[in-house]
Amino acid sequence: MTDASLSKPQVDALSVAFYTIGFVFLTVGCVLWANPLRFKSPAKPAVYVEAKMRGTQPVRTPQLAPVLTHATFTYQCSDCHDLFPSSDTSGRRLSFHTDITLAHGINDRCFNCHHQTDRNAFAGYRTESIPFDKPQLLCAKCHGPVYQDWLHGVHGRTDGYWNAQFGPVRRLKCIECHDPHTPAFASLKPAPGPNTLRTTTHEHDKPANHKPNRNPLMIWRKGEPQHASTPDAERNTP
C-alpha cells in the first residue's frame, strides 16, 4: 500500500513530459551530430579545357614569303620554277606540291593567282606582281567587298589593342585564317558546352526530325534519363 501511494503521484504528467522531451532532444541532438543528410552538391566536376581550345593563335601561320622548306633546305620558289617553267594552259599535273588541294571556286590553274614569270610573287591585274607578304591585294582582285570590310576591320580579327594609342594593332591577313588553296574556313571541333547547376538534358523536347531542344530552366525534369554523354550518337540516328 505504501509502495503504491508513494510511487503513484510520481508518475505524473510532468515527469512523462520531461522524459519525452528529453528523449526527443537527445535523439535530435544525436541525429544532428551524426549529420546523415549531408549536403551533396549537384555540381559536376570541373572541366578544364586544353589550352588550344582558348588559344589566341590564328588558325594558320603562313610564311608570307615565297620560300619552301624541304628536308632542312630552304628554297625560293624561283629556284625550281626558273628551271622548270610550267604551261599556263595545262591543268595541274604535279609531282611536287601534292599536299595542296585546290578547291577555290572556279580557279583551277596555278597562274590564276601565282605570277607566271615572276615566280616569287603573286599575279597582279595584268603583268605586275604582288609580293607574298601582301596577299590581301591578290585576294582583293576578286573579293572586293570583303577586302573593303577587311580594310575597315569589319572582316577578320584585329589583334592587340582597341586603339592604336595604347599599343600595336595588328590585323590578321587573309591567309592567316583561310587556306588560299581551300579558302572555306575549316570546321573545328567545338569546345565543351555548358555544364551548369540548373542545366539538365531533355530528350523529350526533341522533335524526331530536329536537334534536341533543351531548356535549362526546366529543372523539374531533372530525374529523367541523361543523355549528355552520347549526344552525337543520338543525333546521328535518324
Partner: protein, 331 residues
C-alpha cells in the same frame, strides 16, 4: 539542480523527478550543441573580417579606403588560392564608351570565346560559371526558344545552323541595375555595368530582370585550380568571387580599360568579334554601326544594348544547304 536537492527541498524534488529533469536538461544542452555543429565545418575565412564587414560601398570609398581594401583582397586571394596577385582598380577613360559587335554570319560556334572568358575572368569551374552562352539557331529563324546551347557535334559549323553567342549586352538602360535593392550593381561612365561583389546580397533580382540571361549566381563556393587563376585582377571584374554573389561579363574591364581587347575577342578564330570605343568615329565598331546591317537582340525590350550583331551581305556560309535532305541529295 543538485544544490536544490541538497538544500532539503525533498518534498517537491524526488529522485526520479530529479533524474527526469536533469536528463532533459542534459539532452537540451546536447541538442543545442548539436544544432551548432555545422559551425564545425566553417573555415577560417568563412566569416568576414571586421575590416570586410565595415567596408564601405565602392562609390563611397576614398582613395585610402580603396587601396586598403585592394590590399586586403589581395591578401585574402593569396590565402585562399595560393596565388600572389595585385588587385587593380582601373578607372573608366574619358570619352570612351565600349561597344561590342559580333558578325553573326561568320561565327562558327566553336565556343573558344566561352573558355577564354572563363580563364580570363576566374569563373568557378565547379560548379561551372560561364558568361557567354553560344546558341545554336536554326537557319531562317531567330527563335531563341528553339535554340540549343548544348550542341556537341564532332565539328562545327553545321549546315542547318547558325550560331549566336549571347553575353552581357551592357545595356544603356539596364534593368538589372534598376532592380538591385542595395545598389551593388551600377553602370560605369564607359558603359560597363559592374558589380561590387562585397556589397551584393545575392538576392538574384538582377538575374531575373536581365532579358539576356547574362548574370550568373554563385550557388556554391567557387573552385578554381591555383594554376588556372589569372593573376591580373581588378576589383570590379575578375577578382575571385565568393559563394552567394552575382557575377557577369564586364567586357574584360581589367584588360579593356588598359586598351587591350577582351579575352573572348582574342580567342575567336574567325574574327567575328569586334570591340572598341563607339565615340571614336574611326573605330571598327563605329564603322560597323554606320555601314553594316545590324541586328539588336530583343530590341523590343528597350534596354538599349551596347552589343550588336551584324551581317555580311554575302557570307561564306550562305551557299550551304539549309536542310539535311538537300545535302543528301547533292552527295
Amino acid at each position: 539542480m543538485t544544490s536544490a536537492s541538497e538544500n532539503g527541498n525533498s518534498v517537491s524534488m524526488t529522485r526520479r523527478g530529479f533524474l527526469a529533469k536533469s536528463t532533459a536538461g542534459a539532452a537540451g544542452v546536447a541538442a543545442l550543441a548539436a544544432s551548432m555543429s555545422p559551425l564545425r565545418h566553417l573555415a577560417d575565412d568563412d566569416l568576414p573580417s571586421m575590416e570586410e564587414f565595415l567596408q564601405k560601398h565602392y562609390k563611397e570609398m576614398t582613395q585610402e579606403d580603396k587601396s586598403r581594401t585592394l590590399a586586403r583582397i589581395a591578401n585574402e586571394v593569396e590565402k585562399r588560392h595560393g596565388v600572389s596577385t595585385t588587385i587593380a582598380d582601373p578607372a573608366p577613360m574619358d570619352g570612351v564608351e565600349f561597344v561590342y559587335a559580333l558578325n553573326i554570319s561568320r561565327c562558327i560556334g566553336c565556343r573558344r570565346c566561352v573558355h577564354a572568358c572563363v580563364k580570363e575572368n576566374n569563373q568557378s569551374r565547379s560548379p561551372e560559371v560561364q558568361y557567354i552562352r553560344v546558341l545554336e539557331m536554326q537557319k531562317g529563324s531567330t527563335d531563341v526558344e528553339k535554340a540549343n546551347h548544348h550542341y556537341n557535334p564532332p565539328a562545327v559549323p553545321e549546315h542547318d545552323s547558325y550560331y549566336m553567342p549571347v553575353q552581357c549586352h551592357q545595356c544603356a538602360k539596364p534593368p538589372c541595375v534598376k532592380v538591385c535593392p542595395v545598389e551593388a550593381t551600377w553602370q560605369e561612365p564607359d558603359g560597363l555595368t559592374v558589380i561590387d561583389y562585397d556589397w551584393c546580397i545575392g538576392c538574384r533580382y538582377c538575374e531575373a530582370a536581365c532579358p539576356y540571361w547574362a548574370r550568373r549566381f554563385n550557388f556554391q563556393e567557387p573552385s578554381i585550380d591555383p594554376e588556372n587563376i589569372n593573376p591580373n585582377m581588378a576589383y570590379l571584374s575578375n577578382r575571385p568571387r565568393r559563394k552567394g554573389v552575382m557575377e557577369k561579363c564586364t567586357y574584360c574591364l581589367q584588360r579593356t580599360r588598359e586598351g587591350r581587347m577582351p579575352a573572348c575577342l582574342e580567342a575567336c578564330p574567325t574574327g567575328s568579334r569586334k570591340f572598341g570605343n563607339v565615340l571614336d568615329p574611326d573605330s571598327e565598331v563605329a564603322y560597323i554601326l554606320r555601314h553594316k546591317r545590324i541586328f539588336i537582340f530583343k530590341e523590343a525590350v528597350g534596354t538599349l544594348p551596347r552589343f550588336f550583331y551584324y551581317f555580311d551581305e554575302r557570307g561564306s556560309r550562305y551557299h550551304e544547304p539549309t536542310a539535311k535532305a538537300e545535302q543528301g541529295g547533292e552527295a
